[in-house]
């Protein structure tokens, strides 16, 4: 009887819950599944939403001030860029900066989150159990990232208009061209990353060997034609160059033949569509019925490594005294007594040794990739900007003796200082953060007879070791290029270590306060302006006195100046100030690091 009433009364026929009608639910998923996935991804982005928004606003301002105005003074106004339709250097680079920042964001959004989805947090496998199809999961991620690009590009464009860096109303369309550029560079990377079963440094390889070169050789800061022929070819392949050129046409009407504009659009669209389809296919293979588990990158290298280890172990165990009976008793475990015995056991060697073993186990190419960055910067700026600048006036950059110096010789010592900073910061922040919070290596170390001082100093030594090798490589390039003389080279190498020690100890101290990844992002956002403003690519004298004073308070400026003093053999009382600045950094950084280590591990 009750069932009769149910069918009779339309009110009661309503399903009790939204989920009761499976048919409708499946249909909805079939049609809008990609949007559901996009919503999820966007919601997860909210965790670092403030960082994204802040960078969207601050990046254009930073680049306008640093490159547009700073480098602009050096490059000179007007004439040179009139043939491209721009009335200033700032106007010329503005659209390209927009496209480049979107491309940089693509390098992040299409790598780490995809790896997270397949391996680290297996989020895609959660979605796989829902009615969504693998293709929808892929497209959902792409849509969400596109929205993020769109927001970034829109804010960026508004800021550029406010600074008068865009002259044409068509400039609004740059939002689309930049998004397209981002997808064209990001989607092939996403397709590649989604084939990976394991991450063994591929993410940082992509940053250093793909995104960086494509960015540096895509005519962002100068016309591509400034580069020698073979480097121009690299630019033609770079989606960033095509997006840059499209942006320039839209922003200030750079004269371009119609076929070239069409080519830019078709090239970007072609890559985007092809890579999108490839990504959907790979997602379908991995999350669909086939259950493909992905490639293990470097499996061959891994097998080789195991073989090598086996040989080494065999040699170890047959070594004289290796298994001799008298060695079976536990040797005395030595520890210091006396001052600070609770915090320092005198065994820094073990921490350092562990780091070396870990570096050896990783693929060498990852270690060496750190060498590449300063060389790329020097090549790009040295070759690309030099044709626009007659030379740097020595008086203007505070060097005595007068005359002019070449632009490459001007930036080379500064880039060495920057690379020393970057190497030290990377090792003492990201790596330390990982060992502190993710792999908890330090906790393991602290359960042995090691003390916090052993761990802190050992890790800083490791950062110096890496920084020292990178500096050696870069100095070698400078020597071969005839940009510095041998005596200066030796001094500069020690200075690079000294600078790296300053950054490493402060970086480690600051990292010890961090608890979440988002805070690390904030820290990186402090470093970027330091690089752009610290007299690296142009002399500090282009700024008003107030700004100059601020820059002179930052550590990188002191490192850059110290390096230039050595490179041009121009010492003064200020040289001592620079050295003193770093001595203070080292002492304060080490003291604070040790204090924090005690706090963290001996609570």
């Amino acid at each position: 009887m009750s069932t009769d009433r149910l069918t009779a009364d339309p009110e009661l026929q309503q399903p009790v819950s939204q989920a009761a009608d499976k048919q409708t639910m499946a249909g909805r998923a079939r049609r809008f599944g990609a949007l559901h996935q996009a919503e999820r991804t966007l919601r997860s982005m909210r965790a670092y939403g403030t960082v994204i928004l802040f960078s969207s606003v601050s990046q254009p301002i930073m680049y306008i001030l640093a490159m547009g105005l700073g480098l602009g003074v050096l490059v000179g106004e007007g004439g040179d860029f009139a043939e491209y339709g721009a009335s200033s250097y700032l106007m010329y680079i503005a659209p390209a900066i927009l496209a480049s920042t979107v491309a940089m964001a693509a390098g992040i959004e299409f790598t780490f989150p995809v790896m997270e989805g397949f391996k680290w947090r297996r989020l895609y496998y959660g979605a796989q159990a829902s009615p969504l199809s693998p293709g929808q999961i892929a497209s959902g991620h792409i849509l969400a990232v596109s929205v993020r690009f769109g927001i970034h590009a829109a804010i960026f464009t508004v800021v550029l208009y406010l600074f008068g860096a865009i002259s044409s109303p068509l400039g609004v369309l740059m939002i689309a061209s930049a998004m397209l550029g981002g997808l064209a560079i990001g989607l092939p990377i996403m397709a590649y990353v989604s084939t990976l079963r394991d991450e063994k440094g591929q993410m940082s390889l992509i940053q250093r060997f793909v995104i960086m070169p494509l960015f540096l050789f895509s005519g962002t800061f100068y016309p591509l034609t400034n580069l020698p022929g073979f480097l121009q070819v690299l630019g033609w392949f770079s989606p960033i160059w095509h997006a840059n050129e499209l942006g320039r046409v839209l922003a200030f009407g750079q004269p371009s033949p119609a076929w070239l504009i069409l080519l830019h659009v078709l090239y970007l669209l072609g890559i985007t569509v092809a890579a999108w389809l490839a990504t959907v296919r790979i997602f379908t293979r991995r999350l669909g019925l086939e259950e493909w588990r992905g490639r293990t990158p470097g499996a061959k290298a891994d097998a080789k490594r195991q073989e090598r280890l086996a040989v080494k172990d065999a040699a170890d165990s047959t070594a004289p005294g290796g298994a001799a009976p008298d060695s079976t008793a536990l040797p005395r475990i030595a520890f210091r007594r006396g001052f600070g015995a609770n915090y320092y056991s005198g065994n820094i060697r073990a921490v350092f040794g562990r780091g070396l073993t870990a570096i050896r186990n990783n693929r060498g190419v990852i270690f060496l990739s750190g060498l590449l960055e300063p060389v790329l910067f020097l090549t790009s700026f040295g070759l690309g900007i030099s044709p626009m600048i007659a030379g740097v006036d020595a008086e203007q950059v505070g060097l005595r003796g007068g005359g002019t110096i070449s632009y490459a010789a001007f930036i080379a010592p500064a880039l060495l200082a920057v690379s020393a900073m970057n190497g030290a910061i990377f090792d003492s922040t990201w790596n330390v953060f990982f060992k502190l919070k993710i792999t908890k290596l330090y906790r393991t170390m602290m359960s042995t007879s090691l003390g916090p001082v052993d761990v802190a100093v050992g890790e800083i030594c490791l950062a110096l070791f890496r920084g020292g090798i990178y500096a050696l490589g870069f100095i070698g390039v400078l020597l071969v290029g005839g940009l510095i003389d041998p005596l200066a080279a030796v001094l500069m190498w020690f200075t690079a270590l000294f600078v790296a020690l300053g950054f490493a100890s402060v970086g480690m101290a600051v990292t010890s306060f961090m608890t979440r990844f988002q805070q690390m992002d904030w820290m990186m956002m402090v470093l970027m302006p330091m690089f752009l403003f610290s007299a690296t690519l142009f002399p500090i004298s282009v700024y008003p006195a107030g700004v100059q004073a601020f820059i002179q308070a930052l550590p990188l400026w002191h490192a850059v100046e110290l390096m230039r003093d050595i490179a041009f053999w121009d010492f003064s009382g200020l040289t001592l100030v620079h050295i003193g600045y770093y001595l203070v950094m080292i002492v304060v950084g080490l003291a604070l690091t040790t204090y924090r280590m005690k706090k963290l591990f001996l609570r």
């Binding site: 195991q306 290796g322 520890f335 562990r354 393991t444 359960s447 007879s449 090691l450």
Partner: protein, 358 residues
């Protein structure tokens, strides 16, 4: 419950007294804590506990999550400071002699924290290097430990290629590299499948036989029963009882337990009915016992009490089988019934009114 603690406390061993009166004698206790307290702001994780672990003993801290077990372990391991109280580990104060105390300890944390960037063998060697042990000696020692952990065939493998049980065994092997006098194990088998667990227990038995002092925390009753000679039951930072597993069960529970399910809604009312039935049954059975020997029903039920859990009833009785027969005889029809031996789980329930497993 002061009464229970009084029941359970055991007298200090003679060795302890010697050690405290004659400081020149070798210390007989591995660890001794008095009034041990740890506060985090307003929260008191460990609330003034006293315990002594003798050399060569295997000692357990049993309690639910958040009882203060891990905090206690961290204070023993010289990686956490005390808010109050005294502590001596191998005769040293861990807060003053951190590296020296840790040199005598082997620590096996709750979660494996192996070094993923190193191979299996390198994990043990590097760990030994942290103690400042010479590489040549470590090469030989590592072979021995790999053998012990049944990992010799995986020596050059990457850590991430190991199964959960293998990782756990490697963690244990690694903690043994300095030949520790005291091994601290925090939830050693949590998250392992039964087979891996039994392999691990076997390894720990061997260590115990070789004279290593074991201190372990667990919320698994069977583990405590298997591995601990003596244990303390901890809840909310305080010691609820102390003794051997068998002794604790004897003191705080009956020999057997009858688990009954009547369906979610009926458990509470059935509990009263059962208590009435079995209490009277016990009384009448006592009188009729001599006459009815061999019949079974009503003989020696030894009924104690009934515990009501959300999903089932626990009837505590010396003979659960007899109790079940009585219940059937009275016409009660539980949906399921299970007769089992009393365990430490029941001791914990009795002492705290709560179950251990969350």
């Amino acid at each position: 419950m002061p009464r229970l603690c009084e029941n359970a406390s055991i007298p200090l061993s003679p060795g302890d007294i010697t050690a405290s009166t004659l400081p020149l004698m070798p210390v007989e206790h591995a660890i001794r804590a008095t009034g041990l307290t740890k506060r985090y702001g307003d929260f008191t994780a460990v609330d003034g506990i006293d315990f002594t672990v003798n050399r060569g003993e295997s000692f357990g801290l049993l309690g639910p999550n958040g009882a203060g077990k891990s905090t206690t372990m961290r204070m023993i391991a010289a990686v956490a400071s005390r808010s109050a109280g005294t502590m001596s580990v191998a005769g040293l104060d861990p807060e003053q002699n951190g590296p020296e105390v840790r040199a005598r300890l082997g620590v096996i944390p709750q979660q494996d924290n192996l070094d993923e960037e190193l191979s299996v063998r390198e994990n043990i060697i590097m760990y030994g290097r942290y103690f400042g042990l010479p590489r040549r000696w470590l090469n030989a020692k590592t072979e021995e430990l790999l053998e012990f952990a049944q990992l010799s065939h995986k020596a050059t493998a990457r850590v991430e290629d190991l199964s959960g049980g293998m990782k756990r065994r490697l963690t244990i092997a690694r903690a043994l590299v300095n030949e520790p006098e005291i091994l601290l194990l925090d939830e050693p088998t949590t998250g392992l499948d039964p087979q891996a667990r039994h392999i691990l227990w076997d390894r720990l038995f061997r260590l115990r036989e070789s004279g290593t002092t074991l201190v372990l925390t667990t919320h698994h009753m069977d583990e405590a029963e298997q591995l601990c000679e003596r244990l303390i039951v901890v809840d909310e930072g305080r010691i609820m009882a102390e003794g051997s597993p068998a002794g604790l069960i004897r003191d705080h529970s009956t020999r057997e337990v009858l688990e009954l399910r009547f369906g979610m809604d009926r458990n509470q009312e059935q509990a009263q009915q059962l208590t009435a039935l079995l209490s009277s049954g016990a009384a009448s059975a006592n009188g009729a016992a001599a006459a009815d020997v061999g019949v079974g029903v009503g003989v020696g039920v030894g009924f104690s009490h009934v515990e009501v859990l959300p999903d089932r009833l626990l009837v505590y009785a010396g003979s659960a089988e007899s109790a079940l027969e009585q219940i059937h005889a009275a016409g009660l029809r539980p949906m399921t019934s299970l007769v089992r031996r009393s365990s430490l789980e029941d001791v914990f329930l009795r002492l705290t009114g709560r179950t251990l497993v969350d």
